[in-house]
């Protein structure tokens, strides 16, 4: 399945504008989007995977035309909308239930940012693949549980064969967590692919691309 946010390997003739380097925020409204998004990330109503899903589920033409923080803003409004907190711009009087909503206080900011949200979990099952093993990526890169759901399996490696070069322990599975289906932690690997097998033209036969992939994205190589 081809998704708008899944950019890897798309042919894009544009030069990288390296002069766009050093301004963190181009305007004050971007600061508001950034800080409100982070603050509400601690509200307890959704998780990071859900917020990525919200951004990538914007209308494709908006996703492509919006600036970075415009995507954040639209995604955030959608998350608030599905939680019944807002409905539209005039909906100021509507007093949604906030019982489970945790408002971030200034005194907790430093501590919470430092704590972050680790995705690593204790492993409960044995991992299936070994370092150095050759593996194939699933040919269907859709979410297997939710129609058109979130996944972190990029289109450009689907069906491709690579080598396991690192094992990172068990990590929360975005495909489940983004849809509130539990954390379903799973073995996470780094898999290295030869560029010449991924792309029509390759710049150097020894160049490689490494992608982090969860165990259920992978199959034993036939």
């Amino acid at each position: 399945m081809s998704k708008v946010h899944d950019m890897g390997g798309r042919f894009d003739p544009k030069r990288i504008d390296i002069t766009s380097s050093d301004l963190k925020f181009k305007a004050d409204w971007e600061k508001d989007v950034f800080t409100i998004t982070l603050a509400l990330g601690f509200s307890g109503l959704w998780n990071l995977d859900r917020s990525r899903y919200a951004r990538e589920s914007l209308q494709p033409k908006d996703y492509l035309q919006f600036s970075y923080f415009e995507k954040w803003l639209a995604g955030l409004i959608n998350l608030l909308g599905e939680n019944g907190i807002i409905t539209d711009e005039r909906d100021i009087g509507n007093n949604a239930k906030k019982s489970s909503f945790r408002v971030l206080e200034a005194k907790n900011v430093k501590k919470l940012l430092l704590m972050g949200g680790p995705s690593k979990r204790d492993s409960t099952t044995e991992k299936k693949f070994n370092l150095g093993e050759t593996v194939s990526v699933r040919t269907d890169n859709s979410n297997t549980r939710v129609e058109r759901g979130h996944t972190r399996l990029p289109n450009y490696v689907k069906g491709m064969t690579g080598k396991v070069i690192a094992y990172h322990g068990s990590h929360v599975l975005p495909d489940a967590n983004a849809h509130f289906l539990g954390e379903s932690p799973q073995a996470l690997y780094s898999v290295e692919f030869k560029s010449q097998e991924l792309w029509d033209k390759c710049e150097h036969v020894e160049d490689t691309v490494i992608v982090d992939l969860w165990e259920s994205y992978l199959e034993k190589c036939k």
């Binding site: 409204w29 800080t35 409100i36 415009e70 539209d88 430092l114 680790p118 690593k120 160049d207 490494i210």
Partner: protein, 206 residues
């Protein structure tokens, strides 16, 4: 198969982003769901406190202290935690070392994952469609946009940050900086050299 329909509520808001966020913020304020002081604290953190200097200090230390370097590469999360350099968007970090034979480059093709505690917020180009599309397919062409021309004797390894693992490039120490002390080396370490789109270079005199 389960369905999960996320509705497009943003269409009900003004389309100009400035007006859009203003409308949103005003609702959230009236409902008491945001605290401006907390927002200010977040902004201060990422605008003034957290930035590439964090990463540069680690790199300079790794260049001058072999034990630290080995420890950094092998027990990355523990080392960073002891230095208070983990945290949001840097909970799990892998350090990849450039060598004579290998040049590493970091990208996130699916969004814009980036090691915030070590480098601060990503530059605009890192978030651009062009960088996200091209970095995995033609890293050498991308590097030449940054005026970095890699010899064919080096392999390029591109790391696509698809999970919560964040990547930091440990660049090679320039020959001309050998012998300098750790605190002098910090200013040689550019942000781009820790993403893989640049090399360390002598500090410019102000």
């Amino acid at each position: 198969m389960k369905k999960d329909n996320l509705k497009q509520f943003y269409k009900e808001f003004p389309s100009n982003p400035e007006a859009r966020v203003k409308a949103l913020k005003s609702i959230l304020e009236k409902k008491g769901l945001i605290d401006q002081k907390a927002l200010d604290e977040i902004l201060d953190t990422y605008q003034n406190k957290v930035g590439p200097l964090n990463g540069a200090k680690i790199v300079a230390k790794a260049w001058t202290n072999k034990t630290f370097k080995a420890d950094l590469i092998q027990n990355t999360d523990k080392v960073l935690k002891d230095m208070d350099l983990n945290g949001r968007q840097g909970e799990h970090v892998v350090v990849v070392e450039n060598t004579e034979a290998i040049h590493n480059l970091i990208v996130c093709t699916l969004c814009s994952c980036y090691p915030w505690p070590l480098l601060g917020l990503p530059p605009s180009w890192y978030k651009s469609d062009a960088y996200r599309s091209r970095a995995v397919r033609e890293p050498r062409a991308v590097l030449s946009d940054f005026n970095v021309d890699l010899p064919m004797s080096k392999r390029v390894k591109v790391w696509d940050s698809t999970s919560e693992i964040r990547y930091l490039v440990l660049p090679q120490q320039p020959e001309s900086s050998k012998g300098l002390r750790e605190n002098e080396l910090v200013s040689w370490v550019t942000r781009d050299s820790m993403i893989g789109t640049g090399f360390p270079k002598p500090p410019t005199v102000e």
